[in-house]
């Protein structure tokens, strides 16, 4: 036997016509014999109907009044994002430059401490074709997207990449003169790895359509 409180908990579903036929009949019979539930049902109906009336008739604020502050906020957001993108560009360029500046120091330290390994000499002057292909491909991607960059950022990026190019060219020349220098072989490989990494970052940066 269904209790009074169970019937009471079904009053909203009864009101919304959301009960199955049998349960609806049971609740209806209970309501007819229970003044408390009868009153509750009527009050629930008033609540629901008033909420619906308010929902239908309520007047919103004018969109024309809401737009100016929204537009200002969006313009501020856009300006902040443009500044952030420029900063990323500057940091990226600066990172490449620092990396290029740091490597000669490592090179100098290496020269001080690394003994030459004659077996590495055979490899000097040789570089993986796949690495050179990757460098070319990334370079093309950076060149293609550079036009969309802010000119000052593009110039900084170009200067930084040129510094790495120049370090690689110098190392290759040094290797031509001293093909058995193991450190130079290792250093060239490091430079190439840094170059690929820097170009990959730069390509991703210009691809984002800054």
């Amino acid at each position: 036997m269904t209790s009074h409180s169970e019937h009471q908990n079904r009053l909203s579903d009864y009101l919304d016509g959301a009960l199955d036929e049998q349960t609806r009949h049971e609740v209806q019979r209970h309501i007819e014999s229970c003044p408390e539930c009868h009153r509750a049902l009527e009050e629930l109906r008033i609540v629901r109907d008033r909420l619906r009336i308010v929902a239908r008739t309520e007047v919103p604020a004018a969109a024309e009044l809401m737009w100016p502050p929204l537009r200002r906020r969006m313009q501020l957001l856009q300006a902040r994002r443009r500044r952030a993108r420029r900063t990323i560009g500057v940091l990226l360029a600066a990172g490449i430059l620092l990396m290029a500046a740091g490597l000669p120091i490592a090179w100098w330290r290496g020269l001080q401490s690394t003994p030459e390994n004659p077996r590495s000499a055979a490899a000097s002057g040789l570089e993986e074709r796949s690495t050179l292909d990757a460098v070319d491909e990334l370079r093309r991607a950076v060149d293609a997207g550079k036009a969309a960059l802010d000119p000052a950022t593009a110039a900084r990026l170009e200067r930084s990449l040129a510094t790495v190019d120049s370090a690689i060219a110098d190392t290759r020349t040094a290797l031509t003169n001293d093909p058995s220098n193991a450190f130079l072989v290792r250093y060239l490989s490091q430079l190439r790895a840094h170059q690929v990494s820097a170009l990959r970052d730069a390509a991703a940066y210009v691809r984002r359509g800054v």
Partner: protein, 170 residues
């Protein structure tokens, strides 16, 4: 309007602010009312802005499968539910339909009275009664939005209406 919306959404996604303003003009009212019902009058202006900023940032995800108004409304409901949840973490509201509400001898409930009563509801009940009785969502849709069962949604609706009864229905 649906076609205009889809075209303006496409333009706005490409950065056309005038197109976004037209979308705003057509839909801001509904979003503002939704914010007012779900979060209260004080929070509504900023919440409405938040919804449009979010819509602007996610326009690329609107592909015209549904109407723009439906997409925006759903985005706003989700955002406002999260805001209500965050607010709940800092201020625990209880069901207090008490002495500061009008007595049974007052005038019939105006829109302002309804909002005052809604503001007194526990947020978990308020979201359900607003979405069901004012925004026309089904229990199944509410269940999906809130991560509850449709039975849970029915129960909350009944509790919300019962709480509001004490004042609105007098």
């Amino acid at each position: 309007m649906a076609q205009e919306d889809t075209e303006d959404a496409r333009l706005a996604a490409a950065g056309d602010m005038a197109a976004f303003e037209r979308l705003h003009r057509r839909h801001a009212g509904r979003v503002q009312l939704l914010a007012r019902r779900m979060l209260g009058a004080d929070a509504a202006p900023e919440a409405t802005q938040d919804a449009f900023v979010r819509a602007w940032e996610h326009l690329h995800q609107f592909h015209g499968d549904a109407e723009f108004g439906t997409w925006l409304h759903r985005l706003a409901v989700n955002l406002f539910l999260r805001m209500a949840e965050q607010r709940l973490r800092t201020e625990r509201r209880t069901l207090e339909l008490d002495e500061d509400l009008p007595s049974s001898t007052r005038e019939p409930a105006s829109a302002m009275d309804v909002h005052r009563a809604l503001a007194k509801l526990d947020p978990s009940l308020r979201q359900v009664v607003v979405l069901h009785d004012m925004e026309g969502y089904s229990h199944e849709e509410i269940a999906q939005l809130l991560g509850i069962t449709s039975g849970g949604s029915r129960m909350r609706l009944h509790r919300a209406r019962t709480a509001l009864r004490a004042w609105i229905a007098q």
